[in-house]
């Protein structure tokens, strides 16, 4: 555990900040101290400057409205919230949707992964690897890229690595423009299932409003196959690009590297097993088509959603809130009789306290979710690996997913894609990497697009089977109980997502969503543990060729973006802009406006 300590003084230590960090969703500031002599980041603070207060204004509302409200938490993956909200409502209302409704939700969510990973990878993250930025930050590297043949040129059509970088230039690069266009195709697929992007119109507790027909699944399928055709170029293109960084910049594996502490809450329900009862959650969690679990130091320590749920702790320490330790305890025990901690989301009370930003005290609206590991007694600052890295790592080790198109082997995940217009049958295999670092978070994002697409092929087949057999019911009736609790677990595009709900007198008494970004963007907690962005950036080496006066912070930006920051998620509680408060005698280069 790292303490909230001051960095050792050095003439070359310079404060550098990027506030706002762009090309992400939401408001994020990264404030650092960098030792330009040793070319390392010595300190990092992650901050966000917007508060909206969902957990406050949802109190007293109709619990049936929860998914329509919480969707508005996020404008890119709002449907992940709507879905997770529906899961929590289903548990609280005691309703099991018909099978076909679950296939429709799985198809919608698969399209969301395809869309969101795609636009983020090639229109937001990709710019950090484009010709323009590589030239500005590492001209020497670009010269090497010009001379380096792309190993998979036959698959993607770009002869050299520099050609790939040129294709990623914003608004002019060929691959940038193609990816933007593909992100529309996949959103059309999404809208076929969930009505509207990013706030769906057809998801409900008990099922969906989508009218199932042969037509709607065919319209999805033809688009899916076009997208798969694109992926057969996209995945090898990114492999070439990321492998080039390892080869051309020895030591790049240390950029953004942190201890392997990954959490995944599972995705894609198996409707034959999932009845949304807490009592059976262990079983239906393990039946999900992306396995939930926690990986510590390369070991899978649990795949049990009940364990994952019980270990959740929300800490303060550097956030703009008053504590709730003395506030009401809504849930003392879960339905299995396990004790629920006061710091668990079911028992959280959000008490916002706006204040000045002070990096020595409180500096962000984001809280600090941690996972309490019984064995060690540690409050672990799990990260999501940007989403895909954790999903793959857990699913690979668990080895339980096998649907033909996707197979988890125990140390890898094999993805089989059928013949498409321009390419033959293709197998991709994601293998457990040596590191949890910037490039592997990014690589997993490309592979997960293939995972989602392959899973969608399976879901379309299952859905059509139901339609052909005349099983077209997609919604089950329910009643809102007087009192109930519920929880939903899902994978938002950028990682683990949970919604915790308490109903009293048929109204919402407490509601706390925990999206991926509070996990990743959290500040130093009450125990002094920094959040994953802070941790991954601190001690990260600097490969950028520029000195402090022209410094772009490209390696830091790549690291932060590798987590796929989505601050509206972090900020339903808060996010703030930051500025380093501690003063140093070293020159303040970061503050100047160019």
């Amino acid at each position: 555990m790292k303490e909230k300590t001051e960095a050792p003084f050095s003439e070359k230590i310079v404060e550098m900040s990027w506030d706002p960090v762009t090309r992400i969703v939401g408001s994020l500031g990264i404030h650092t101290k960098i030792d330009f002599e040793k070319r390392r980041v010595v300190e990092c603070y992650s901050t966000s400057s917007i508060f909206r207060g969902y957990s406050v204004f949802m109190r007293g509302k109709d619990p049936r409205d929860a998914h329509l409200i919480t969707s508005r938490i996020c404008g890119i993956c709002g449907d992940n919230h709507a879905t997770c909200g529906v899961y929590a409502q289903n548990m609280a209302f005691g309703v099991r949707p018909p099978r076909l409704a679950e296939w429709i939700i799985n198809l919608g969510e698969a399209a969301e992964y395809m869309f969101d990973h795609n636009i983020f990878q090639d229109n937001l993250v990709g710019v950090d690897f484009c010709e323009q930025l590589v030239r500005e930050t590492n001209p020497g590297l670009f010269a090497t890229a010009e001379k380096t043949e792309a190993p998979h040129a036959a698959a993607h059509g770009f002869r050299t690595i520099a050609d790939i970088m040129r294709a990623l230039n914003p608004f002019t690069g060929a691959f940038y423009l193609e990816a933007l266009q593909m992100s529309r195709l996949t959103r059309e697929m999404f809208c076929l299932m969930e009505g509207r992007h990013a706030h769906p119109s057809t998801l409900y507790p008990g099922g969906v409003g989508t009218v199932p027909s042969v037509q709607v699944f065919n319209e999805y399928l033809v688009r899916l196959l076009r997208y798969i055709d694109f992926l057969k170029r996209c995945v090898p293109l990114h492999d070439d690009l990321f492998d080039f960084f390892y080869e051309a910049l020895p030591g790049y594996e240390e950029v953004g590297r942190r201890r392997v502490m990954l959490g995944c809450m599972g995705s894609f329900q198996n409707p034959d097993v999932c009845d949304f009862r807490y009592e059976t959650m262990r079983d239906w969690g393990r039946a999900m088509y992306v396995t939930p679990g926690i990986v510590i130091d390369g070991k899978l320590i649990t795949t049990d959603l009940v364990d994952i749920n019980l270990g959740m702790r929300i800490l303060l320490g550097s956030s703009f809130y008053d504590d709730w330790q003395a506030d009401e305890k809504f849930v003392t025990h879960d339905p299995l009789g396990n004790e629920i901690d006061q710091r668990h989301p079911w028992n959280q009370t959000t008490n916002p306290k706006p204040q000045k930003r002070d990096f020595a005290k409180n500096y962000t609206w984001v809280m600090s979710p941690r996972w309490f590991e019984k064995k060690s007694g540690d409050h672990l600052a799990l990260d999501t690996g940007g989403g895909p890295l954790a999903r793959f790592w857990v699913t690979a080790l668990a080895g339980s997913v096998d649907i033909g198109y996707v197979k988890a082997t125990g140390q890898s995940v094999k993805i089989n894609l059928p013949k498409t217009a321009n390419h033959g049958e293709t197998e991709f295999e994601w293998k457990i990497p040596k590191w949890s670092n910037t490039l592997e978070r990014d690589r997993a994002r490309s592979y997960f697009q293939a995972y989602a697409a392959a899973s969608a092929l399976y879901f379309v087949e299952q859905a059509l089977k139901d339609v052909y057999a005349g099983r077209t019911k997609v919604w089950s009736q329910f009643k809102v109980p007087e009192e109930a609790i519920g929880c939903g677990f899902h994978e938002a595009v950028r990682g683990m997502l949970s919604h915790h709900l308490v109903i009293r007198n048929k109204r919402i008494a407490n509601y706390h969503p925990y999206p991926p970004t509070p996990w990743n963007a959290s500040p130093r907690d009450s125990l002094g543990t920094p959040g994953p962005y802070e941790d991954a950036v601190t001690n990260s080496p600097i490969f950028e060729e520029n000195g402090p006066d022209k410094f772009k912070g490209i390696d830091i930006m790549r690291t932060v973006r590798s987590f796929d920051p989505c601050l509206p998620c972090g900020v339903h509680m808060y996010v703030g802009n930051g500025k380093v408060i501690q003063t140093r005698h070293s020159p303040m280069f970061g503050a100047q406006v160019k």
Partner: protein, 331 residues
């Protein structure tokens, strides 16, 4: 009208209380697309320099420079797009609900409200994108701690830009992608002197997009006319009894779809929860209850609707048979 504008910057602030959903929606648009505008492929519009934090190449101070320059009068002319609702920063003793960039002197975030105060008076036009920015939206829900509101609540409904334009509201939660881009295109044509003053209604919405109700364009309207209402999600008939507000909500999504004519709300099985309206969300909750105002009309239509349905079934059965004589010759 002022001289035609040849080059204009679009400064987009997402740092209201929002979700960036309107920016993301903008990237879904194809009629026109954002690259159509940025690459200048539409005739008769000024050259556009586009500054939105989600798509910007620049970071941090480099990105903020455009906004500081506009506030200092160095960058001109520009159009200001606001996304997210505007918090009440005066309902607390210190700190901030929403900030954007950092004040170098104090080290504190610059409040989003301060940016609006600095930039709105210098903007050629101000656009509110999405229901949060137009009317307050979901974050202004009863019980909210931030006291937030729409841009026209903050600046005043009578507010006019220095070029004489009222605030242009494009509601929707999020905004329908092509609705947004189409309005942006209109304003660019107006800036170039190619189009007259944008026509807006009393709620400052472009009239050609928001004058009809969802119901008037709904492909379930026929079921309504025939008094055919479902009590179950996923069925084809009219969903007013499930909580659809379509008959009174001004929005074209039922007709236009969400993107490329695909998706939408009641047309594809989702109740209309009124997300384009100034009264959203409070006046539409609980969303999943039948709107009180539809009780009478849906009851009244039953007698007429059933009779019409029966008569039509009779005629339909008749026209489902071919006229006599269509068979091979029997000789």
């Amino acid at each position: 009208m002022s001289d035609p504008i040849k080059e204009i910057d679009i400064l987009w602030i997402t740092a209201g209380l929002g979700c960036d959903g309107d920016t993301i929606a903008m990237t879904a648009a194809t009629q026109p697309s954002i690259e159509d505008i940025v690459l200048g492929v539409i005739p008769g519009i000024p050259k556009v320099n586009f500054h939105n934090p989600v798509l910007a190449r620049e970071n941090g101070d480099e990105f903020m420079k455009f906004f500081h320059d506009a506030a200092d009068g160095i960058l001109d002319p520009f159009m200001l797009v606001i996304e997210g609702s505007i918090p009440n920063e005066k309902n607390k003793t210190e700190g901030f609900w929403a900030g954007f960039g950092v004040d170098k002197a104090s080290g504190q975030p610059i409040k989003t409200c301060d940016w609006i105060d600095r930039l709105a008076p210098k903007a050629w036009a101000v656009v509110a994108a999405g229901t949060c920015a137009t009317y307050g939206g979901i974050h202004a829900m009863e019980g909210n701690p931030t006291g937030c509101m729409g841009l026209s609540d903050y600046l005043g409904e009578q507010w006019k830009s220095k070029a004489g334009l009222p605030i242009v509201n494009i509601p929707g939660c999020p905004v329908q992608p092509d609705n947004f881009m189409e309005v942006l295109l209109y304003l660019l044509r107006q800036a170039a002197g190619e189009a007259p003053m944008i026509p807006l209604d009393a709620a400052l919405r472009p009239t050609w997009l928001f004058s009809e109700t969802v119901h008037e364009g709904c492909d379930r309207g026929g079921y309504y006319e025939q008094g055919d209402f479902t009590q179950e999600y996923g069925a084809k008939p009219c969903i007013v009894k499930l909580g659809c507000w379509g008959p009174v909500v001004q929005c074209n999504v039922g007709k236009r779809g969400w993107m490329a004519g695909i998706g939408g709300c009641p047309n594809v099985g989702g109740i209309c929860i009124g997300c384009t309206m100034p009264g959203f969300p409070d006046k539409f909750m609980s969303f999943m209850d039948q709107p009180p105002g539809s009780m009478l009309s849906s009851q009244a239509i039953q007698t007429y609707g059933r009779a019409i349905r029966a008569l039509r079934a009779f005629t339909q059965a008749s026209v489902n048979k071919e006229p006599p004589g269509r068979r091979p010759a029997t000789t």
